[in-house]
Symmetry: C2
Subunit: 285 residues, 2 copies
Amino acid sequence: MLYLVGLGLGDAKDITVKGLEAVRQCHRVYLEAYTSILTVGKEALEEFYGKELILADRETVEQEADNILKDADVSDVAFLVVGDPFGATTHSDLVLRAVKLGIPYKVIHNASIMNAVGCCGLQLYSFGETVSIVFWTDTWKPESFFDKIEKNRQNGMHTLCLLDIKVKEQSLENLMKGRKIYEPPRYMSVNQAAEQLLAIIQNRRLQGQESAITENTICVGLARVGAPDQKIASGTLEQMCTVELGGPLHSLIVTGTLHPLELEMLQLFPVAGSSFEQPACQRTT
Amino acid sequence: MLYLVGLGLGDAKDITVKGLEAVRQCHRVYLEAYTSILTVGKEALEEFYGKELILADRETVEQEADNILKDADVSDVAFLVVGDPFGATTHSDLVLRAVKLGIPYKVIHNASIMNAVGCCGLQLYSFGETVSIVFWTDTWKPESFFDKIEKNRQNGMHTLCLLDIKVKEQSLENLMKGRKIYEPPRYMSVNQAAEQLLAIIQNRRLQGQESAITENTICVGLARVGAPDQKIASGTLEQMCTVELGGPLHSLIVTGTLHPLELEMLQLFPVAGSSFEQPACQRTT
């Protein structure tokens, strides 16, 4: 049996009782480690589970999937994923491969960022398409995510923006020379995401286009959702450039039309110094 | 402290380790029992938690919220919600009330239908706005959910349809006479939801409108997601009228544009007798 086990978003104790039982009975336990991170490290998980974990980076999962599935038809193997196994990144490739090999599988669900963002008080059924905001480089500054956010907002919908993670990335030079030397991991902050969005708004303004998203659009920055030191801050997009949320992982929500109850919830988490009492659109610069 | 604890979607063991610890240390534990159900009953939960549970129906939560929060500033109270506390129905009203009373709160997240539907292989970030399909009556047949599904589909997005639940509903007669006699609980099935959608398509066709959703649109029916006897079936909307998925809770997905990997996953769960080898649009009737 292949168990796909969601770990939730906080620490070792966010695993479900069912998930913990599965992990403890498995012969091999892999920890998927390239799409997200838990605030506790591999060692804390190993100690709590009483199991040794095998770190599975992108290469392992994509190139050595057969090793992960080896003997899973006769023994139990667990594949642990931060959040839910079918959350922000789906692991359907592993499922399909297992099915082709005749290996049964079981999914043990957990919270993912896709539903846990509800903790800020915005209603999940008022979210449109989720977008990913990627790190810009000097030569590559895609804007497609902005168009999706704008479309959601025009339809009154909120947008959850998942922020880029670069783990085990090679520099262009090392990649070209085939050297397996990796850059330090990078996690996009709410500040960086907001700056990229503001740059797009500026670019378009220079071209005579006024966007549905402005400096004053109400946004929510979230950091380490589910962890004891989780932070939520609501304020304008401009305020998101300087809000201090601490370490990764961060997510950003660009709001659409706000229901009074949603607005009341967001007021529990104001950016330091901000006030929702005046609608943001009355702000004068 | 007020703990809002998500129970996940299956049985007693789908609670997180952190959630279980919170429940066991609380003086009073409420079980929210009107927006969803677990496949196991209250008794099974009580036995596993080693705690007596107080059933909180809609009236209790809306009218007696102060009783729930009583003394929560000096002792620990838990409010258990099937799925995630901020899932399909948010409990932000309870949070706001607690904050006003100076009671600290903690959220312990879990899987909700909003992210667990990913188990069918459709990618969560390709979902548009979630809709609720309500039971039609002889005199009330709203179609607003259809417009939203259609809009999502036109944008290439999938739609998760949450199906109506009627728990502790009074008949019009009993309501008018002030008699607290309740109808037996009713849970909308995928069959019923599909029939309502087909009726709307027919209505519009009679009015000369061709919808973006037809009898042949690929849909996914899901029942008891997360439970050991979970069922998933993919097929045309027409097939959803007769697919047999067993007891509640059911959900229906109307697909948008399918990625090849999504299609491959859906093929793991074909409606009996259906085949995805021919695109549904080639079907001849």
